[in-house]
């Protein structure tokens, strides 16, 4: 391994070192604030090392990971999301579990797995990253030691996610059998029935991880059972990592150039957009509502993936995917952040619990309103810019059917997102409630500001994404 390669790997090395350090630290000091401070320090150091690593340019390390601007972009995003989750969890986990320190370590390892997926150029890295992420998530979901729902959710996620992983693994084996190589780039070489089947199995497994219809059954239950901040993390980082990988995989292997797979994925996208939104209409539980809404959003995101193989081209597709994922992170984390900030002993899940929130907790209500409007794609929010990108990519790539599904899905979506906002405006006589902590509201306030700022002036975000993918797929 050469010097530049090591430089490029700096964020991964820093984070791994940080995890080791924390394992040591908590055997001496078991104090919440110290652990949180250490976690944030490790994440900050990782973020700082991204800038350093970017100096090395794109590096293909041992044909295993391709650490380029694209990978760095997602590393930064995942680290920021992990930091937000860490702060939100503080004061939340210790009300639910006797020991809270290990939670932060799991959070860091999950982030490491997600980062690896963002850089994967080889089936080995693909699987390694995915499993580090998933195994950490099982434990994070089951972390509260009181009550059954988290445990149920974790078991469900473990079993179904395991099935998906094995499906992907089988697919990889078939592809390897045809091409004789585990690298994404070599998958172009083969041409045979087994290769098709293998690629189809890999896509199906990824569709499961993204909770796309018809592989979506686990989503509402896991969302509901998991503790609110963890749900936010599952909804963002775990899906974002899979999506980042999927886009790179689609660009490098040109798998979607095959009509059958393109058609199948288009169908999955359309069904997800429609079914996700329709099912979300029926929900009275905010976690389940957001679960179905995330199914729809992942369907939207597939437009970016499918655009890879359309007239829009890989550059535009990747740019769209990146902007969309950033927007989706901000609004989803904000929504679950508000839920976390409101929840004391029990998660506030029912929509009824949010009635009159504007008059009780104006700040949290404003952020949740911004998040809901952003998810609905209303201007002034980043959700609009994200949706605009999808429209642009869809129109440029002549994916008319998908764009129509996007219009119909968004139209249905407006109704249930607005229900959240409307419930919060209902008049109630209660006065201002005291907040149990200041840091959770502060975190969601930052997310709310991010939603609006990126929505009004998206140029820096767009420039960052374009800078990151210069030469991407070429």
């Amino acid at each position: 391994m050469t010097g530049p390669a090591l430089t490029a790997l700096a964020p991964y090395i820093v984070l791994t070192g940080g995890v080791t350090l924390m394992l040591l630290a908590i055997s001496f000091v078991r104090r919440g604030p110290v652990t949180l401070a250490l976690t944030l320090a490790v994440l900050l150091a990782t973020l700082a090392s991204v800038g350093f690593a970017a100096g090395a340019g794109a590096q293909l390390v041992d044909d295993f990971v391709l650490v380029d601007g694209y990978a760095h972009f997602f590393t930064a995003l995942f680290v920021l999301a992990a930091a937000a989750t860490a702060v939100l969890t503080f004061g939340y986990v210790d009300r639910r579990a006797a020991q809270r320190e290990e939670f932060y370590i799991l959070l860091l390892t999950a982030t490491l797995g997600a980062m690896t997926m963002g850089a994967a150029a080889h089936f080995g890295a693909f699987l390694l990253g995915m499993e580090i992420l998933s195994i950490s998530l099982y434990a994070m979901i089951a972390y509260p030691d009181s009550g059954r729902p988290p445990l149920e959710a974790a078991i469900k996620y473990l079993v179904l996610s395991g099935v998906a992983s094995t499906t992907i693994l089988f697919g990889m084996a078939l592809v390897y059998g045809e091409t004789g190589s585990m690298q994404f780039a070599d998958a172009l070489a083969g041409d045979g029935a087994l290769l098709r089947v293998g690629q189809g199995m890999i896509l199906a497994g990824l569709a499961f991880k993204l909770s796309l219809v018809p592989f979506h059954m686990w989503t509402p239950d896991v969302y509901q059972g998991a503790p609110a901040p963890v749900t936010g993390f599952v909804a963002t980082v775990s899906k974002g990592a899979v999506a980042a990988l999927l886009i790179r995989y689609a660009v490098t292997t040109e798998v979607l150039a095959q009509e059958a797979l393109f058609f199948g994925l288009s169908l999955i996208a359309i069904v997800s957009m429609v079914a996700g939104n329709v099912l979300a209409l029926l929900q009275d539980n905010l976690k389940r509502l957001l679960a179905y809404s995330s199914i729809a959003h992942m369907g939207y995101l597939l437009i970016a993936v499918l655009a890879v193989a359309s007239a829009a081209g890989p550059q535009m597709a990747a740019e769209t995917g990146m902007v969309y994922i950033v927007g989706y992170f901000a609004m989803t984390l904000a929504a679950f952040g508000v839920m976390t900030a409101l929840s004391t002993d029990e998660d506030v899940e029912d929509l009824a619990g949010y009635e009159g929130l504007f008059w009780r907790r104006p700040l949290l209500a404003a952020v949740l309103a911004a998040a809901a409007l952003s998810l609905a794609g209303i201007p002034l929010t980043v959700g609009f810019i994200a949706k605009f990108y999808l429209f642009a990519a869809g129109v440029e790539g002549s994916l008319w059917l998908l764009v129509w599904a996007l219009v119909i899905g968004s139209a249905i979506g407006v109704y249930y997102y607005l229900r959240i906002v409307f419930g919060m405006t209902r008049q109630m006589e209660a006065g201002d409630e005291a907040s149990p902590s200041w840091w959770a509201p502060a975190t969601v306030a930052v997310l709310g500001v991010a939603i609006v700022v990126m929505g009004v002036y998206p140029t820096p975000l767009i420039d960052a994404a374009r800078e990151a993918i210069r030469g991407f797929g070429g």
Partner: protein, 491 residues
């Protein structure tokens, strides 16, 4: 003039007004009123000192999106109307709003800022941006301060406008990308897109996307069903803004975007649009007549009046085998927009005042009110007559020009539209009869008549209608350059 500063001042004042309720519950309405007066004076000074303002600031260069704001005669007229009706809205809800007055004025100022943006934006992305910005505060106005059925009404309003807005976004992008495919230049600039060459089939579809958004907002039958609910349930200020201004954004969109961007497609579609216009006039009129709710009646009359706009804008007529834009009818549509802004805002203000005093909008609970509140009676009489189309008042000029123009285009539809004027007289006088005349209802308690505050605003609107009615030339001169130059003749 710095249009962006104007919009930012309004947005900023909204935030200040929102926060000021902590200091004093009456502070927000004073801030809001002062903002509208100052900005109106600002725009007025600019209009007197004639000119054409233009602003250009890069925004999202990636997609050729810029902040392009400009103010020509048509925009000036509508922006001035917007700001004036802002004053009316604030005054009409002076004593009505007790719950969270700060957030109320915040929404009023933001919706108006969005409307000013819609009337001045000449970048399609920016236009869409403002189009949606005015939606959310309006939704809050209805959902929070509305009447008994506000949840249903606000949701319906939002869904109709949002879904049609998505169609427009789709159409905007299709237009931009088709232009991009043809020229290799990605731009959302209105002036660049005017030259876009589209195939006639695709142009027709794209035009329909724009048309859908604007005709829902206008609203034209059969896309009008959100309007009676939204208008009836909205608080007084909300109804004034909705009827006075928001409906005009639909009409403005037809004049500024649909016809200039797609002249051929619009000409092909003209007969259908005129048909929808005539249908709106008659249907709105008949529905208005069958209402027992004061506010709902006025709401349906808006559908009828906006039908004239639709009829006028699309009154293309044939000259030597080619369809050309009908300047007289379009001028009529513009005058109707302004006059209807005054007359309907006044009637909604009256409905709000009655509801505040009687706690009912049902006309069967009214009757003989003239004896109790003669000033209110006289004012209502004036605006009902104006709305009916009495010569000498603004609405007459608008409707007359539309009918004169449309006569050249399509005689049967013009006749149908003209019949609507008769229907208007029926429902207008019926409204007057049921509420202010007839036997006094013994159950009605004595009620406070209009005071100086209400009368001064009403007086201004009366003066406005008389001025347009007697001397419409200045208004016509203001919009003439737009109507004459923006419109290219369809081949």
């Amino acid at each position: 003039m710095n249009i962006l500063a104007l919009i930012l001042v309004m947005l900023g004042a909204g935030v200040v007004a929102g926060l000021s309720e902590r200091i004093h519950p009456a502070a927000p309405k004073w801030i809001s009123l002062a903002t509208f007066i100052v900005t109106l004076a600002w725009v007025g000074a600019f209009m007197v000192g004639d000119g054409y303002a233009n602003q250009y600031i890069p925004w999202i260069p990636r997609f050729g999106i810029n902040v392009v704001l400009s103010m020509d005669g048509l925009s000036q007229m509508l922006v001035a109307l917007t700001l004036f009706l802002g004053i009316v809205a604030v005054v009409s809800s002076w004593t009505e709003v007790e719950h969270r007055p700060g957030f109320f004025q915040f929404n009023v100022l933001w919706v108006m800022a969005g409307v000013v943006g819609v009337f001045t934006a000449l970048d399609l992305f920016l236009f869409f941006f403002f189009w949606e910005v005015m939606l959310i505060p309006m939704y809050f106005l209805i959902a929070i301060w509305g009447h008994e059925d506000k949840a249903y009404a606000s949701m319906k309003f939002f869904l109709f406008t949002q879904v049609s807005g998505l169609l427009m976004l789709f159409a905007i992008l299709a237009l931009v990308y088709l232009n991009y495919a043809a020229t290799g230049n990605i731009t959302f600039n209105y002036h660049d897109l005017l030259d876009a060459e589209l195939g006639s089939d695709i142009a027709f579809l794209v035009m329909l996307g724009f048309f859908a958004a604007f005709v829902v907002k206008l609203p034209g039958v059969p896309f009008h069903t959100w309007l009676p609910d939204a208008h009836t349930q909205a608080p007084t200020a909300g109804s004034v803004i909705l009827a006075g201004i928001l409906l005009k954004t639909g009409a403005y969109g037809l004049i500024r975007f649909v016809v200039p961007l797609f002249p051929e497609a619009s000409a092909d579609f003209a007969v259908w649009a005129m048909f929808l216009g005539a249908l709106s006039i008659l249907y709105g009129g008949f529905m208005a007549y069958s209402q027992s709710d004061f506010k709902r009646l006025v709401a349906y009359s808006s559908v009828a009046h906006m039908g004239f706009v639709l009829l006028g804008v699309f009154a293309f007529y044939e000259v030597g085998g080619a369809l050309v834009v009908n300047e007289v009818a379009v001028q009529g549509a513009v005058v109707t927009m302004v006059a209807h802004g005054f007359s309907t805002a006044a009637l909604f203000m009256m409905a709000g005042a009655l509801q505040e005093r009687l706690h009912t909008r049902e006309m069967s609970n009214m009757g003989g009110l003239w004896t109790r509140a003669p000033r209110m009676g006289a004012v209502t009489m004036f605006f009902v007559i104006a709305s009916v189309g009495m010569p000498g008042l603004g609405n007459f000029v608008g409707e007359f020009l539309v009918l004169v123009g449309a006569f050249k285009a399509n005689i049967p539809l013009t006749v149908a539209g003209a019949l609507g004027v008769v229907v208007a007289a029926v429902y207008g006088l019926y409204l007057m009869q049921r509420s202010f005349q007839g036997t006094p209802n013994p159950d009605v308690p004595s009620m406070r008549d209009f005071g100086l505050r209400e009368m001064s605003v009403m007086g201004l609107m009366m003066a406005g209608l008389v001025w347009i009615g007697i001397h419409p030339q200045e208004l016509l001169d203001l919009s003439a350059p737009v109507v004459n130059t923006l419109w290219r003749v369809a081949p």
